[in-house]
């Protein structure tokens, strides 16, 4: 397995290892999850993508270019910060924050868009499309497209366009065309539908950069591999800092790309507990949430089988979360598998718990986290006090909170 600490910049993560964790299988399945549930027209481009991805992962030039971009453009490795004051306040385990918020564009999303855009260029594609909810993946896609001189179209639900104006403007500044999607619930899932429709229509020149570990194979594995730089670095940094592996990992899960990125290099380390945190919105009991792993059921959406928010007739239902980035009715198929296999524990925290954690971290450490990230922080405030002071937790600080100023201010009754 390519998860040893000395391989911190190797993006490869063999899907079939000599021992240990080896998912997905050759057809992109994680146990019963994942797969390629797409219309026939997309099978050929997906096969093409799969071949290109497998080829370039072993290509020294590609790996070198990716490493140099991650270092010089994204700013990697990201720091691992010991939040001593917050740890002391919580009175239990020592908390370390993996600072993905310090990446260029302010979140983990760019680890993946850099990788996929480099792949797009090698495949000779001149046009990039992406879906976005809160706008972070859209900004990260528009950013790499600007840098590489590629045309970029970002699909965004009409509802999200209205509530994330600043990010829409950022994307337009970067030269992207933002298409407001008016179908269905007019949110992230509909943006994804529309991006897939675009791809079906323009497969000859277009590369679809999916922003999370969902979609048809090879996306869940490919996005995981690009994001697992988070976990590889964190693993090496913890070993260097504390001389051993962390006792627990915590990350928020919407589609689940920052979480898989942190978790994946630790999956074979049985002594490391893994916690994924979904959005409970108003509370799981109210039905107004975005927690398919905690309160959904298996089904097929957006090209893969996974846990979904669906009604008894298999129609996808609307989700609710204070955090636009977690407001998605599905979740990456690998999380579904890690849940069923028992390797990871999935929990959910409410909007108000996440907000409390948002304020707590801001006040005690001077770090303003994204609302998505605040869900992971909220669970850590419950977990840390149950652990000893010589134990450690690594939290993926997946993004910064600048984009959420309006939302939080509004809740405090302040108009910015």
């Amino acid at each position: 397995m390519a998860t040893r600490p000395d391989q911190t910049t190797d993006p490869r993560s063999p899907t079939v290892g000599a021992d240990g964790y080896h998912w997905p299988d050759a057809n992109g399945h994680f146990g019963p999850y994942g797969g390629m549930f797409v219309p026939e027209t997309l099978m050929h481009p997906l096969m093409e993508l799969r071949e290109a991805y497998e080829r370039y992962l072993g290509d020294a030039d590609f790996v070198r270019e990716l490493e140099s971009d991650l270092r010089d453009y994204v700013g990697r490795p990201s720091p691992l910060y010991h939040a001593e004051r917050w740890s002391r306040e919580l009175g239990g385990a020592q908390i370390f924050l993996k600072r993905e918020d310090l990446n260029h564009t302010g979140a983990h999303k760019i680890n993946n868009t850099i990788g996929q855009a480099l792949l797009a260029r090698r495949m000779g594609k001149t046009r990039i499309i992406a879906e976005t909810g809160a706008g972070q993946h859209g900004v990260a896609s528009a950013t790499v497209a600007a840098r590489m001189g590629l045309e970029c179209i970002v699909y965004m639900g009409e509802v999200d366009v209205a509530r994330q104006e600043a990010n829409v403007y950022r994307m337009r500044l970067l030269g992207a065309e933002v298409v407001s999607v008016k179908s269905g619930s007019r949110t992230l899932k509909d943006a994804l539908n529309e991006a897939m429709r675009d791809w079906v229509t323009n497969i000859d020149n277009t590369f679809y950069i999916i922003g999370t570990v969902a979609g048809p194979h090879p996306y869940p594995a490919m996005v995981r591999d690009f994001q697992s730089v988070i976990g590889r670095e964190a693993r090496a940094q913890m070993l260097e800092r504390t001389g051993r592996l962390p006792d627990a990992l915590v990350a928020c899960v919407g589609g689940g790309s920052n979480a898989i990125g942190l978790f994946y290099p630790f999956i074979d380390d049985a002594e490391v507990a893994i916690h994924g945190v979904e959005a409970a919105g108003d509370g799981l009991a109210t039905g107004r949430h975005a927690a398919p792993l905690c309160a959904g059921s298996p089904g097929v959406l957006h090209g893969n089988r996974t846990y979904l928010m669906e009604d008894v007739d298999g129609q996808i239902i609307e989700t609710h979360s204070i955090s636009a980035g977690l407001d998605y009715p599905g979740v990456g198929p690998e999380h579904a598998w890690l849940k069923d296999s028992g390797r990871a524990n999935y929990v959910a925290v409410t909007d108000s718990e996440a907000l409390a954690a948002f304020h707590a971290l801001t006040r005690t450490e001077g770090i303003i986290p994204a609302l998505e990230t605040s869900h992971a922080l909220a669970y850590a405030t419950k977990l840390a006090p149950t652990m000893r002071k010589d134990q450690t937790i690594v939290i993926s600080l997946s993004g910064r909170g600048d984009k959420d100023m309006h939302t939080v201010a509004q809740l405090d009754g302040i108009k910015l």
């Binding site: 219309p39 050929h44 269905g184 509909d190 429709r197 079906v200 229509t201 089904g299 669906e310 239902i317």
Partner: protein, 271 residues
């Protein structure tokens, strides 16, 4: 012999091309669909494709997306669609009916339970848009156990190997998507279609229907010269949409359009 195979055999003997209209079940309201199906048959439809509404129709263009939203807003679900077929069968035991939709509503009902319920209702086959042969094993088994046909899409991007692979599991007929794109999109390139159909026929021994992008009688006539069936969806659904506020006019107008298509196809077939 299945109703679908029987229909193609009969038309083949007469050297005629089949006409397959698509409508979304329950659009614009549930009570419209069954009478509309009968009118379409009377006007010359040989097989009816009934769209099963799903919240996230990734292969559909705006016209069928909106039809889906209208049907869903009226509460039309897979069970209701099966019920419509059951009622259609009370007066028509001849015309094949194929359900077209997405996997999730079937998945949640259970593949076996769906196949049994579909058979019992009088459905002849299913086309599940987001299930390629790679993922279709369970569904194929379940439908086969109930003697239902599983219709597969073929695309301009399907190479020889994929065509063979689909031919190994498809039954009833195969549906060639004539444009790269979603339903209702693009411009028809009949010569390109003809070339691809030759490639398909060399590898699959089933009738080949052509759809996605056939907008009018002229398109239908041109396609009928090369295909075993002409499939028309968005052009019909678009007419239904225009009459959504006066649903009583829908059967008449749609039947008029079907008759026009029928005549164009028959004239071309005999040309």
């Amino acid at each position: 012999m299945s109703r679908i195979a029987g229909m193609f055999q009969r038309l083949g003997a007469e050297d005629r091309t089949a006409l397959i209209p698509f409508v979304t079940a329950g659009d614009p309201s549930p009570e419209v669909t069954v009478p509309l199906m009968h009118r379409m048959v009377a006007a010359g439809a040989d097989l009816i494709e009934l769209g099963v509404p799903f919240s996230d129709p990734i292969a559909d263009g705006p016209v069928i997306q909106r039809a889906t939203e209208r049907a869903l807003a009226r509460g039309v679900r897979l069970r209701d669609v099966l019920d419509m077929v059951r009622r259609f069968r009370e007066q028509d035991s001849e015309t094949p009916v194929v359900l077209m939709g997405y996997l999730n509503p079937i998945e949640i009902m259970g593949h076996g339970a769906f196949a049994a319920a579909a058979r019992e209702a009088g459905v002849d086959g299913a086309l599940v848009v987001d299930v390629p042969p790679e993922e279709g094993h369970d569904l194929v088994e379940a439908l086969r156990a109930e003697n239902l046909d599983l219709v597969y899409l073929l695309a301009p991007t399907s190479d020889g190997e994929r065509i063979r692979r689909i031919g190994a599991v498809a039954s009833g007929f195969v549906y060639y998507v004539s444009v790269k794109g979603v339903t209702g999109a693009g411009n028809l390139d009949v010569e390109g279609v003809a070339a691809k159909l030759a490639e398909i026929r060399a590898r699959i021994d089933l009738p080949v229907g052509v759809g996605f992008g056939i907008k009018d009688a002229d398109d239908a006539a041109r396609v009928s010269a090369v295909a075993d069936a002409v499939i028309v969806g968005s052009a019909i659904v678009g007419r239904i949409e225009q009459l959504a506020d006066t649903p009583e006019q829908i059967p008449e107008v749609v039947a008029g359009f079907i008759a026009e298509l029928r005549q164009a196809i028959d004239t071309a077939s005999h040309a």
